[in-house]
Symmetry: C2
Subunit: 132 residues, 2 copies
């Protein structure tokens, strides 16, 4: 194992390439909740679960999801089993999310196709231009 933690805010910022400000912001929105240590208990200490969550946050951000939505999504993952109703609700949420992601992937695939077309035209154009 590389390191089992805990980690300071600086180490987190370094490892994940985000700013301190961003980490505090995510915490402010309830996406992270590192515990506190030191005198006055005002120094953040990040544990493994915080790192797991941060990975999910950043991936969600890369995909363009709003942070609030990211919050509800990753909360699905470490939710207590709860009642049956809750489980079924969770399943429906999962369905929604999958729908969204699949639509996005379709968009991406279409974009990639079009890029391939464009690239082909460029290469053809270059060829015609080299041997006229």
């Amino acid at each position: 194992m590389t390191s089992q933690g805990p980690w300071t805010i600086a180490e987190m910022a370094d490892d994940f390439d985000v700013t301190h400000r961003a980490l505090r912001h995510y915490e402010h929105l309830g996406l992270l909740s590192p515990d506190r240590v030191g005198p006055g208990g005002n120094t953040r200490r990040y544990l493994r679960r915080d790192r797991t969550r941060l990975s999910l946050i950043l991936r969600g951000r890369r995909l363009g999801f709003p942070l609030e939505e990211i919050g509800t999504i990753i909360d699905m993952y470490d939710e207590q089993p709860g009642e049956i109703g809750q489980l079924q609700y969770l399943l429906s949420q999962i369905g929604d999310r999958r729908g969204d992601l699949e639509r996005r992937r379709a968009d991406i695939d279409k974009s990639l196709e079009e890029l391939a077309d464009l690239e082909q035209r460029c290469r053809d154009d270059l060829a015609t231009r080299s041997q006229p």
Copy 2:
């Protein structure tokens, strides 16, 4: 054919489910450029190419790209062949874009996998709960 246009701003807004404001905003950013008609030439008239561009804009937006970046992307599509240097630059841009899109798709696929896992756990949980 359904309709060959031209279209008014209201029809555009209707067909693509965006607001007038958004259409004007995209135009302000140079993403659209409908021509003008009427007395004073102040009434927008949208043609087919505007619709093509708008589709691309909206898809880019769904994927979370900033509008400005969307502009440079869709400008790649109807660029004049230009010099060889331009063509090579365009090809490199295409490479960049493809890289970005492929990273995104990887993120999406990972998310979908995790959702599948979560769903499986939910279903198992439901089963255990029904026949204890």
